[in-house]
């Protein structure tokens, strides 16, 4: 039971946060949770061995689907979140049949190119999407109430954390870990490699679409440049790397750490605070390929072992 105490405390803390934190802090945490969910979704795909650069693309697709269905068809904003998720998921499903044949740099580059294609297409359909100037929603979700918005994002993020844990604890973990380690062994052990890749690709893309939808409903505004911004790719990657890839806890730790640092730096230097993310990515790849979560965990377990109260 001991290992559940910390997670439960953190969940309780996140639930009561609006009552103890001011608007500014709440806003920062809302935005950290957004990037946390993206970071986890990117990591879940990476666990299959596929490096996706399409995070911003599916985020943007979900954002647009959600915004347009509210503006054009008068959908309920909360329902539109689901629309965003489903739209990104469906697009990923069909694209998956083609792009999931690719590996390594070819998969990475194709997903990056797809992000650009999405944004070019949207920019060039002005009647539908508002073109390069974008579309403004008449009202933010919950009339812009920051507390309700925080809870909405919190629910989404907790759901994503839940999915990530399911991915870690069920046979899905065995399948995708095998695929990453050795595809030939995976196949000859009876794993339907393509089925699992497609499944993970669709789920993670749907998550990205959902988060994009929530984001756009929060800010009541979409435009190709800001909605498909590579920040929605870069920051999640940096967060996962710093915390530690192939885990749930890694991206969570990374998101809070980098989120808070970035917020501080944004106040200190208006231009170029993103340089920190670049430096962090380079530094982590070179010197701490495991991120900070695993080394910490191992030390803690190491201490526990010498104390004799943890049974391996």
């Amino acid at each position: 039971m001991k290992k559940y105490i910390l997670p439960i405390l953190l969940v309780i803390l996140s639930v009561i946060l609006p009552f103890i934190a001011g608007t500014y802090l709440l806003h920062i945490f809302t935005s950290i949770l957004v990037f946390l969910a993206l970071s986890l979704s990117w990591d879940m795909m990476l666990r299959t061995g596929q490096l996706s650069f399409g995070t911003a693309g599916f985020f943007g697709l979900g954002a647009y689907a959600s915004a347009l269905i509210v503006v054009k068809l008068g959908f309920d904003p909360i329902l539109s979140l689901l629309v965003g998720a489903i739209f990104s998921g469906v697009i990923a499903f069909f694209l998956g049949f083609v792009v999931l044949r690719l590996r390594e740099i070819y998969f990475a580059i194709t997903t990056l190119a797809l992000t650009h294609v999405f944004s070019v297409v949207i920019r060039n359909l002005p009647e539908l999407t508002g073109g390069s100037s974008g579309t403004i929603l008449s009202n933010a979700i919950f009339n812009g109430d920051p507390i309700k918005i925080y809870y909405m994002i919190l629910i989404i993020t907790l759901t994503v954390i839940g999915i990530s844990e399911i991915f870690k604890r069920t046979r899905i973990h065995f399948a995708i870990n095998s695929i990453r380690n050795d595809e030939t062994t995976a196949k000859s052990s009876g794993i339907n490699v393509f089925k699992y890749l497609l499944f993970v690709f669709v789920v993670t893309s749907a998550i990205q679409g959902l988060v994009g939808a929530a984001y756009v409903q929060q800010y009541a505004f979409v435009n190709p440049e800001s909605t498909f911004s590579l920040n929605f790719l870069l920051l999640p990657i940096a967060m996962a790397l710093v915390g530690g890839i192939y885990s749930t806890n890694g991206p969570i730790i990374g998101a809070f750490l980098l989120g808070l640092i970035a917020e501080y730096l944004k106040l200190q230097m208006p231009y170029g605070h993103l340089i920190v993310y670049g430096l962090i990515i380079v530094f982590v790849v070179l010197f701490m390929p495991q991120g900070i979560y695993k080394p910490i965990k191992n030390t803690v377990i190491g201490i526990g072992k010498t104390g004799g109260d943890i049974n391996a």
């Binding site: 490096l51 690719l102 194709t110 060039n124 340089i275 670049g278 990515i281 790849v285």
Partner: protein, 307 residues
Amino acid sequence: MSFSLKKSYRLLLLLILFMVIIGIWRPNALLDGLQRGSLYAIIALPLALVLGILGVLNLAHGDFLTVGFYLIYMLYSRFNLDPLVSIVPAVLFLILLSGGIYLLTVKNVLKDGHLNQLLITFGISLVLIETINIIWTSRPRNVYTDYAYSAIEVGGFRFGTYELLYILIAVAVLVALQWFLKNTRLGQATFAVGQNPKGARIVGINVNFVYLFVFSVSIGILGIVAGFMLPRTAIFPGVGSPFSLKSFALAAMAGLGNLNGILIAGVTLGIGEAVINSIPNYGGWSDIVFFGVLIIVIISRSYRRAR
């Protein structure tokens, strides 16, 4: 990789046919496309070289071009140095900068998987862009020179002469590169490392030096491009980024190691972009040419390989 230095005659013929048709239909687009395409090709050549010999896709490639731009811009605004003169310091600076970055970072991930290689160049890209952002902010900058806007008129058809230079430079860089690979000791060593790094090491080639040399000189070439492009280009911190992906598109289209193919692919896509650009109301779709072609090429290659 294996360099195919043989001329790609069949492709070349197709390209010429394509150009004739475009030339009759939209002569302006042909000229525009030729210029763009040549630029794309010179920028893509060094990326293809690094990809072929080191096996690293450098996602910071285009951002090194940006660094070149800003350096030349600074020399212009501080010391009123002509951009074309600044090419010399720009090339030297880029060689030193990229050589240093290579030794500090890329060198250490050469043996790692593609994941670390992509991520590290991705990180470098970000650092370069943001450094420029910090020093010069995101405000667009320009350099004005008279000669960049000179034009001539032939039979009622007016066109700029300066951009024609791009085509000459592209051909010159390509020829020089091939001459180097064939006729110098270092070039042949490079060639050998590209073919078989282990074998090259056994016969006594200093593979590490070849890697360093290829990486830094490739980036150095971008200094030449930056000098010629700057008089006609408004620059901002992200100006070079799209070239990384576009260059990879050309390298993938030409096939690894096919240097001539890159010029052909560059000109083809350049003209394609220019044609779409020249269609009223649909100009915005031209951005899709490269990404669309990139995706189609990669995927069709993967199908062919599977068979």
